[in-house]
Amino acid sequence: MAEAVTERQYQGRVHQRSRQLMSAWMSELARAEAEGVPTGALMISGNCVELLRACHVLPMFPEVTALQNAIRKKSLPLILKAEQAGYSSDNCAYVKADIGLFLDGGMGPGKPIPFPTITVCNYVGCNVYVKWFEHLADVSGSRLFVLDTPFARTPEPTPGDVRYVVSQLEELITLCESVSGKKFDIDYLREILGHAARAEAGYARCKHLTRHRPAPFDAYFDSINMMGPINVLRGTREAAEFFDEAVAEFEELVTQGLGPLSEERFRTVVEGPPPYPYYKSFRNLFTRWGAVAVQSTYSTVGGIWEWGFRHDPQRPLESIAEQMLRENLTNRSITARYGQIKRYVEEWEADALVIHSIKSCRLFSAGQGDMRDYFTRELGVPTLLVESDLEDPRYYAEAQLRNRIDAFFEALEHKKLVGAGH
């Protein structure tokens, strides 16, 4: 048996700075009601957070609230509360945790999670978003604005798609003006988009650094430190600076030849969201095999930046529309995702694909058996499919997961040894 692989217990500047920035945002949100700052609920996927910022509406993200409750192991009582109110055990647990928080009195007037002033459903890909925000608007009494983003069903968005989204963005501006009482300034939006583009370039650079051996960070488990700043705080100067620091730190690690584990034995691409209630336990199942994710699809739900797309201050609304329509994972078809993963496997030189299938999110999961079929049979990429959930701890079966993961990496190790002529 080879020497045991361990985590370096590395908690660098990226981790610390991300926590500081996200905490500051949460504090700002908690003060918003008292300070009379309007808030707008948004979805993470392919969001138009820059526009809300430019309109002086503070963005809030129900998904972030849900995942934070899950990672702190507080999601189950909230889910059960929602189920008592009529939600099915088969409904998305993200939604149930969020509604459960309201039913539990944790969201609303005078609470750290205030009711949103406006509920902006940036409907990108996931139909459950529409339901979620309909329910959120219903409980909070806030004005619901559904920003319908046509799903990517042609190689490029049609001119009609872009016009349609831009028209709705203009309507959203009018709505925001009515709640903030401030006139929209396109130059201010351009300035914000400039910050956004800088953050996007930084995030893209970080993701390209994982092509190195060893990768300087785990592109699945550690990406969460960057997903907050890129998806929630995009458009702020602080987020842009955060990514400058992240790039510097990861480049330093590359120079030193350091990765997140004591040894990088397997390079994986991971598909699907993580099981937040058992984040660390799940990570440990891979750590012990020296498996490091060099790319992940979950880290691209808000935007795919590593292939060059940037918001363009010269075409502000059009570039926001293009990002919502095309440059994010969730508004693309599952088979387009196959293409994205294939590129990751090839260009990041991965040994295997790990699919974490979650019950809550059918947008991600429905059909991942077909994905496994494609990668194993057609491309010959070793592929592991495991199931649990991103929010509901009842679907996480540690022993079963461990058996499957161990068997997979044992086989992969054997294949490597045989391939190396031992």
Partner: protein, 384 residues
């Protein structure tokens, strides 16, 4: 034809595999094409205007064993998605040239791409139907989307959809929907004259033929029903809600009525009755169809309607049909129905309308528990 003869004809048509229906029609129409649409709504008019046979792709029901599709879709995915894919693997849709899917739910969206990957020789198109009902831009957008579908037919099949042909198809489908509305009105007035199973069979048979081949027997049915000798029973009038996509087994619909209900309204095969009034007769036909989708659509769990609460359409349906209660029948794992249930339930409770939930799967074959639940519900209402 008598009512019974018409219903038996419909039962025979519905029992045929979809591919066989397509092949039979194509044999009678050499060079013809057949295009099947996944629930809920699709612009059958555009398919019809290209001279093709529009069909409903409604899964495999109780007749198809899953041997391939459950390796593609997980256990927590609804049956209709899996069995619709299975039809392809088992060659039961051979003869159907194309498939149209839309964004009714996340599973349907993924199913479209997976269909395309597994059956690359088939025409597969995905429509994005708007989830915004109030933007001034929405009709123009959908008009473009419908034209895109027509262009795809032209490119793949060499079949043009002219404005004149589409205008004619809209007129034909307006007539078909008027007949279907007449049947629904008749059932509200005299539910003992047409059981829900019978109405469902008639409706489903209408999704398996060109409308011009359907209008005759539908007209006969509308004309013959008032004279059908029946006796009204002491049953509770209910609205059936939630079975708009996956098809409930006929046994479930039978049990519902046998256990003491008259179903007086439902959302079965809703897409084929989508418009609450005729699509307008003048102007650009693509624009008219798009405008009707935005402004004249029946309330549906698959479409965001920003102008009214989720429960409003259902409550209106209850009032309009003189129903006493609602039976929710969501398919297992159907997120649109299961989510809407919560807001609808709250709305019904505010309005003082009783309700019951009966979950189903297309392959369900034993109904005794359901019968028991419904009987208890009916008794609790009748003897309240």
């Amino acid at each position: 034809m008598t009512v019974d003869a018409i219903i038996e004809h419909c039962r025979a048509v519905v029992a045929e595999p979809l591919g066989a229906v397509a092949e039979r029609w194509k044999a009678a129409h050499p060079g013809g094409r057949a295009v099947a649409v996944y629930p809920v709504w699709a612009p059958a008019e555009v398919i019809h205007a290209a001279g093709m046979l529009p069909l409903a792709l409604l899964g495999g029901g109780t007749s198809v064993e899953l041997t391939h599709a459950d390796a593609r879709f997980q256990s927590f995915v609804c049956s209709i998605a899996k069995s619709s894919l299975e039809l392809g693997f088992q060659g039961l849709v051979r003869g159907v040239d194309g498939f149209v899917f839309s964004n009714i739910c996340d599973v349907a969206r993924n199913l479209a791409s997976i269909y395309k990957r597994n059956f690359p020789e088939a025409f597969v198109e995905y429509l994005h139907l708007p989830q915004n009902s109030t933007s001034p831009a929405v009709v123009g957008y959908l008009q473009g989307e419908l034209r895109r579908l027509a262009d795809a037919f032209a490119q793949s099949f060499g079949l043009e959809v002219t404005d004149a042909a589409l205008a004619k198809s809209i007129e034909t489908y307006n007539t078909l929907r008027a007949r279907l509305r007449a049947l629904y009105r008749l059932r509200i007035e005299a539910p003992e004259k047409l059981s829900t199973v019978e109405l469902y069979l008639a409706l489903r048979a209408a999704t398996l033929a060109r409308p011009e081949d359907t209008l005759g027997w539908l007209g006969d049915l509308v004309a013959a029903l008032p004279g059908r000798p029946t006796r009204r029973q002491d049953r509770m009038r209910v609205v059936l809600e939630g079975a708009f996509c996956e098809q409930p087994p006929l046994g479930l619909l039978e049990v519902l009525e046998e256990a003491g209900c008259y179903v007086v309204e439902d959302d079965l095969l809703l897409g084929w009755r989508w418009f609450t009034a005729d699509v307008a007769a003048d102007g650009d036909p693509f624009e008219r169809l798009a405008a009707a989708y935005v402004n004249q659509a029946a309330p549906s769990s698959t479409r965001h309607e920003g102008r009214q609460h989720r429960s409003a359409g259902l409550i209106d349906k209850v009032r309009r049909s003189g129903a006493d209660a609602v039976v929710f029948a969501p398919a297992k794992f159907c997120e649109p129905a299961l989510f809407d249930y919560v807001l609808m339930k709250q709305g019904l409770e505010r309005a003082g309308i009783p309700h019951l939930v009966v979950e189903f799967e297309e392959k369900m074959w034993t109904f005794e528990r359901t019968r028991n639940e419904i009987e208890t519900f009916v008794e609790s209402m009748l003897f309240d």
